[in-house]
């Protein structure tokens, strides 16, 4: 019981906060349930895409934002070509796939040169590729890369508009198959896709490549000694994560219905990582349950904090500040704990090695 509480302290704290804040927010259970179902549907895929790099010992993939950008480029082109519905989403995914693979390869290769500092490397790489993305979307599209629909372009004639609607793509997946449960509309197709992805993840974890990734995540030197191509496996983990983030971003944006061309992707990584950590995951260990629990708790805070703050303190903004402080503070604390644990593990190993040397020296004399 004590171990369970300690290992799940973060979701428990969030649960207590939420339980206290829900009555203060004044929101009805039906509204909250509908919001949670909708948010879980659109965000869970993105959070699940983080699990593969954690399996491979590469920590939290802040570089998933690269996949999000690839997905957005796919959606921009799908809208420009006027493709609607599920075919439109599939076209966006097909366009985003090679881009995600290329960006994932780049991210993985860079991370391999920064072993031990993967998270901050991927974070900064995300900023760099964001610059490239903005150059492509703000300057190249409409000029060097012609777009057929002038309504997508800025008034100067090139560059995509700041906000783009997704005509024909809005809720294309969500509305494909819905279920009304007592007034709560559940996007069955979206959840079916997410659950199928969960099964795929379980299968992947048990496959040879999944086992290789676990071995690499446990100990790179031992994995290398066992003949596992460590560098290639790590790159593959990042490629898979980036690709899944691309598809996750497409699912996210089809639910929202609009793209904020220059900012939709920016918060993707931070929100997904915050959700995963809030679900009880750590930098070294994360599971499917952490993803689902984390999405629910994180987005519950999202919905109730402003209203709870407004009703309690009289200022909705304070409630929002509180949510931001707690949510991102969790990331900071988790990363600190991870660094502290790594250092103490390294010290314990050093102590054990020096003790072993003393014993051998004593035995020899």
């Amino acid at each position: 019981m004590r171990r369970f509480l300690l290992s799940n302290i973060v979701p428990i704290i969030f649960l207590i906060f939420s339980a206290a804040a829900i009555p203060l927010s004044g929101l009805t259970p039906a509204y909250l349930a509908q919001e949670m179902v909708s948010r879980a549907g659109r965000n869970t895929f993105l959070v699940l895409s983080l699990l593969v790099p954690v399996m491979a010992g590469m920590g939290l993939n802040f570089g998933m934002v690269l996949g999000a950008m690839a997905g957005q480029i796919g959606l921009i082109l799908a809208v420009d070509w006027g493709v609607a519905g599920i075919p439109g989403l599939l076209v966006a995914a097909l366009i985003g796939t090679p881009l995600s693979i290329a960006l994932g390869f780049l991210c993985g290769a860079v991370m391999n040169r920064a072993r031990g500092r993967e998270m901050v490397t991927s974070y900064i790489l995300g900023f760099f590729v964001n610059g490239v993305y903005q150059f492509v979307v703000l300057y190249c599209m409409g000029s060097v890369l012609p777009l057929g629909d002038p309504e997508l372009l800025l008034s100067r004639g090139y560059g995509v508009r700041n906000t783009m609607a997704l005509p024909g793509l809005r809720r294309a997946l969500d509305d494909l198959l819905t279920l009304d449960l007592g007034g709560i509309v559940v996007p069955v197709a979206t959840f079916a896709l997410t659950f199928a992805f969960c099964f795929l993840l379980v299968w992947f974890g048990r496959s040879k490549i999944g086992q290789d990734m676990r071995a690499v995540g446990k100990d790179m030197a031992v994995a290398d000694g066992a003949g596992i191509p460590v560098a290639r496996t790590r790159i593959l983990a990042i490629i898979v994560s980036t690709l899944l983030a691309c598809y996750g971003q497409i699912i996210f944006l089809q639910n929202i219905g609009t793209i904020n061309t220059y900012s939709s992707h920016e918060q993707t990584g931070i929100f997904a990582i915050a959700a995963l950590l809030i679900g009880g995951a750590t930098v070294a260990k994360a599971g499917i349950a952490n993803a689902f629990v984390g999405v629910l708790l994180f987005h519950l805070m999202f919905v109730i904090s402003p209203l709870a703050g407004k009703n309690l303190i009289g200022d909705a903004q304070l409630g929002e500040y509180f949510r931001v402080f707690v949510s991102y503070g969790i990331i900071a604390v988790t990363l600190l704990l991870h660094a502290w644990r790594r250092r103490s593990d390294a010290e314990a190993r050093r102590r054990a090695e020096s003790d072993a040397e003393h014993v051998e020296g004593g035995a020899a004399s």
């Binding site: 070509w81 006027g82 609607a84 519905g85 075919p87 097909l94 024909g168």
Partner: protein, 127 residues
């Protein structure tokens, strides 16, 4: 054929198949706007007057177009069937014309109802 060559050929074939799949998706999912033009026009010396009581059904959507006006609807995909009905003042269908429509790259198609009512071979207009 050695393993490497076969692997490369399979991967190339897979890429080609994916591109072909994407092109097929773009065709079956493409949105088209069909504009129904009910304005009087002249073509090759003949005058085609606007049609009173024009009602068009395509893809389950019914569009009623007044004389000297236009109506529009959006459809998705390549193959459609346009049902053009001419109604009297009471709303009863006096005449019904079935027009198959095959679309490809066009974003917008303008169909002239007066031309259609007179049985013209090519009832489409260019903007």
């Amino acid at each position: 054929m050695n393993v490497r060559t076969r692997r490369t050929a399979l991967r190339a074939a897979l890429c080609v198949a994916l591109v072909a799949f994407g092109v097929w998706l773009a065709f079956i999912g493409k949105r088209h706007t069909i504009i129904f033009d009910n304005q009087e026009l002249s073509r090759q010396g003949a005058v085609f007057p606007a049609v009173k009581g024009a009602r068009v059904t395509v893809g389950g959507t019914v569009v009623e177009v007044d004389t000297e006006d236009r109506g529009a609807t959006e459809v998705v995909g390549m193959n459609h069937r346009i049902v053009f009905e001419i109604c009297d003042e009471r709303g009863s269908v006096v005449r019904k014309i079935d027009v198959p429509l095959r679309l490809r790259f066009e974003k917008t198609v303008i169909l002239s109802l007066p031309l259609l009512a007179k049985g013209a071979q090519d009832p489409f207009l260019q903007e």
